[in-house]
């Protein structure tokens, strides 16, 4: 009996050992596969909905919008070949390009595009459009607005409005399959991590050079660095800037970087007694050593911000605007003049209010917290006490909505819609903004300018309005850019022809070939 049992035990063990061996057998080599372009970025495929993952669909060139933006910022026809606006500026006609087919082979009609657009208009990013009606006429999609809305084409370039085939949606109103029009189509989705794509041979535009693309989401920055050092991908978007020397030294991949309109900015609750006086906000802004922060923390001196946006968006960069000064003596003089006097602990007070605040930073952007602590030391020199509190990013808009935000430093892109005005409006014209100002009295003046801007079709007048908006923000410092972002891309030696788009709307993979 005992003997029989012991044999069973042994065979059970043997069985489990062979199961392990079978599971561990490599099913395929990890080495690079010929003809497959391997692309990695931090972003996971969390769902099939364009409002959620439309940016991956657009960047990976799976789905396209009616209007597209070129790397130089110029708006060009996408699924819409061309567009016109009526004399009263209220009726827009978008002519759907002939010969565009969805990935399932069905032609893109004006009706199909309108049906897709109707679903995205329900989403928030499109809600700023004062839509009156959306209809079709032959191959033309007609969008009427209640009031003139000059940057409509730019808003339609937003990835939330990618055009999907009517068969993409299931009975529950959710996207069950992504059937779009881009140069690449999805052949397989593995969890949230991997997308397998193939070249769409019936694509209307420039055909991609590579036949297959594999997209891998690698959310952890250190892991992306390791993969770049090992050269285990062909293109890795958004590598950790501090890792650039190590990646370059390993010799497998080379990091290229480009200043983009994404900003690390500091914002005040201008309603608090310590920040209500514009002189105080100016003085604090003058105490920031941006060059020091850019070179010591961000390892890129060129990223020190001189104004809200970098020259990568020429329309919203005013080279004539005086740069943010770094002047501790001047800052102290300004605070003295404003009536803030130093106490025994070195912190200034006025009418019993201490010049102190808690600054919220984003915990998953570690450099912000380091920048915050650097600023903590720099503000000490002007008699201000700062504590830095890293929080999950969603807690910042939450604190602004609740009115509890004192100071914050966050990262914000101003080109989700490739016309910056679409981000200026929610951030600078409301009592409680989305990401930025809180209780800032200057918002009404900016609102008058943005209202005029939205309705104006006169380019010269719009240029004047842009300069005025930028000047008010620069002068009154409700929000101050500290450093711009470098978009970093690690590129494998075998990759040829990659173009980096500062708007990050497309990864321009169709131009890439593998050497």
């Amino acid at each position: 009996m005992t003997e029989k049992l012991s044999i069973t035990r042994r065979s059970a063990l043997a069985l489990s050992a062979s199961a392990v061996a079978a599971a561990a057998l490599p099913s395929q080599s990890f080495a690079q596969e010929a003809g497959v372009l391997r692309v990695a970025s931090p972003w996971e495929w969390t769902s099939n909905e364009p409002t959620d993952t439309g940016y991956i669909m657009a960047r990976m060139q799976i789905a396209e919008t009616l209007v597209m933006v070129e790397p130089d910022g110029k708006l060009v026809g996408g699924i819409a070949e061309s567009w016109t606006v009526s004399d009263d500026r209220l009726t827009w006609r978008f002519k759907v390009r002939a010969g565009v087919v969805f990935h399932d082979g069905t032609p893109v009609t004006a009706e199909a595009a309108a049906a897709s657009l109707r679903r995205s208009l329900a989403g928030e990013s499109m809600q700023q459009i004062p839509v009156d009606s959306l209809s079709t006429e032959g191959d033309t999609l007609i969008l009427k607005t209640k009031t003139p809305f000059s940057h409509l084409p730019a808003v339609l370039a937003d990835f939330a409005s990618v055009i999907l085939a009517p068969t993409s949606w299931g009975a529950d109103g959710k996207v069950s399959r992504v059937i779009a029009t881009g140069p690449f189509r999805i052949t397989a989705i593995d969890g949230k991590t991997v997308l397998e794509l193939e070249r769409f041979d019936r694509y209307w535009g420039e055909k991609p050079k590579v036949a297959r693309v594999r997209y891998t989401a690698i959310p952890n920055g250190d892991t992306r660095t390791n993969v770049a050092i090992a050269g285990d991908q062909d293109i890795i978007f958004t590598t950790v800037p501090a890792a650039t020397p190590r990646i370059d030294a390993a010799g497998q991949m080379k990091v290229e970087s480009l200043t983009i309109p994404r900003v690390r900015a500091m914002a005040f609750n201008s309603g608090l007694p310590q920040f209500a006086d514009v002189r105080v906000r100016r003085a604090i802004n003058m105490a920031i050593d941006r060059k020091g922060i850019a070179s010591a923390i961000l390892r890129h001196p060129g990223s020190a911000a001189t104004q809200l946006l970098p020259a990568a968006v020429p329309a919203w960069h005013d080279a004539s605007l005086p740069a943010h000064p770094f002047d501790v003596v001047g800052a102290n003089a300004l605070l003295d003049q404003a009536g803030w006097t130093r106490g025994t602990d070195g912190v200034r007070t006025k009418d019993g209010v201490r010049l102190a605040a808690t600054m919220l930073t984003i915990s998953n952007r570690p450099e912000l917290t380091v920048m915050g602590t650097a600023m903590q030391a720099q503000f000490k020199a002007i008699g201000m006490e700062l504590s830095v509190e890293p929080v999950p990013s969603a807690a910042i808009p939450s604190a602004i909505q609740a009115g509890t935000m004192q100071m914050t430093m966050f990262a914000r892109t101003y080109v989700n819609v490739p016309e910056v005005i679409a981000t200026i409006i929610p951030d600078f014209t409301r009592e409680r903004s989305t990401w930025g100002t809180l209780n800032w009295p200057g918002r009404d003046r900016v609102k008058r300018l943005t209202d005029e801007y939205v309705q104006s079709f006169d380019d010269a007048r719009k240029a004047v309005l842009r300069r005025e908006i930028l000047k008010i923000i620069q002068d009154e410092v409700p929000v101050a850019a500290v450093a711009w972002f470098e978009h970093t891309v690690a590129i494998n030696k075998r990759v040829k022809g990659l173009v980096i788009d500062p708007f990050e709307t497309r990864y321009m993979l169709h131009k890439v070939s593998l050497g």
Partner: protein, 317 residues
């Protein structure tokens, strides 16, 4: 045999009750966390920079998060009674589908890592136990202490640096091929070995000093034969219990290893669900992990009864 069945039935009942309580605690804790739930979900869905108060409001309406908590909890319990764990607030997929996908990866890597750890720990622990204070014992002791004091991510980074970045034998991250499994499995195994070697060694030392072993030696068996015939089974009892506990610990997922190696396991799912406040996934994971933990410990008990039927006699009596 009916005694065994009674034990199993009782324990499964307990497991289900424990799992339901655990899931309910998850519900309470998630809602007790500060911050707006809908805003967190919105940020996880559309990305931090695109989240607006309007998005949060839409999600609040669509997902019924504006209803009283007791109603939301009641609905969850009602669905659970029908075997429905609901949908993820993040991906919109059924929770069962999310859990099954990630659990398959965790089980695969967990099983390999766990078995690998015993392939390393058993020979070392037994050899050390045969000669307490000997060279092998001292070396394995130092090894176990070192590994136990090193955080898992350091062990992982060390292995990546050596095998992936310097020698270039293996890929540094990923999950799709056998080669991708080696480094995470080894990292996991080394972190388990640190604690199982001393357990095995002590079990062997204790059994070898037992009276029945002296008797076996006196009746003329060699030390190895005496241990094979009389020692192994007795020494296996604490080791099996400990190994089962370690396995139960492993099936929860291993967040650090999963993150470092970009491996889509349960731990990663759970951490992301917590950050995103994806309540149905958190509760579903709590339920499944609680149940699986109970099942593994039940299996360990049965295994122990099999190795040492004296417990069964007591249960029958």
């Amino acid at each position: 045999m009916s005694a065994t069945l009674r034990i199993i039935a009782l324990r499964i009942g307990q497991a289900l009750a424990t799992a339901a309580i655990l899931a309910s605690l998850c519900f309470i804790f998630v809602h007790a966390l500060p911050g707006d739930l809908a805003l967190r979900i919105a940020a996880a869905r559309v990305g931090d920079e695109r989240v607006t108060p309007e998005t949060a409001d839409r999600i609040r309406r669509e997902e019924g998060l504006d209803r009283p908590l007791i109603v939301q909890y009641g609905q969850w319990m009602g669905n659970l009674a029908q075997g429905n764990l609901g949908h993820s607030l993040l991906s919109g997929k059924p929770v069962t589908q999310e859990l099954a996908y990630h659990a398959s990866f965790t089980l695969q890597l967990g099983l390999i890592g766990w078995l690998l750890s015993y392939l390393i720990a058993l020979p070392l622990g037994i050899t050390a136990g045969f000669r307490p204070g000997g060279v092998v014992d001292r070396i394995t002791d130092a090894l176990a202490v070192t590994l136990a004091s090193l955080p898992t991510f350091l062990v992982g980074i060390g292995l990546i640096t050596l095998f992936a970045l310097t020698l270039r034998w293996l890929p540094p991250a990923g999950f799709r091929t056998g080669a991708h499994m080696v480094l995470p499995a080894l990292t996991l195994a080394l972190s388990l070995v640190a604690f199982s070697i001393p357990v095995i060694r002590n079990a062997v030392v204790e059994v070898r000093s037992a009276f029945f072993m002296t008797y076996a030696r006196v009746k003329g068996l060699t030390p190895a034969a005496a241990f094979r015939h009389h020692g192994v089974r007795n020494a296996a009892i604490p080791v099996v219990t400990y190994a089962a506990l370690q396995f139960a610990f492993v099936i929860d997922g291993f967040v650090v290893i999963e993150t470092l190696f970009n491996y889509p396991g349960l731990g990663e799912l759970l951490v992301k669900a917590l950050i995103a406040r994806d309540v149905p996934v958190i509760m579903g994971a709590g339920l499944i992990i609680g149940f699986a933990f109970a099942v593994v410990s039940l299996l360990a008990d049965l295994m122990r009864l099999w190795l040492d039927p004296r417990g069964l006699e007591e249960a029958r009596a």
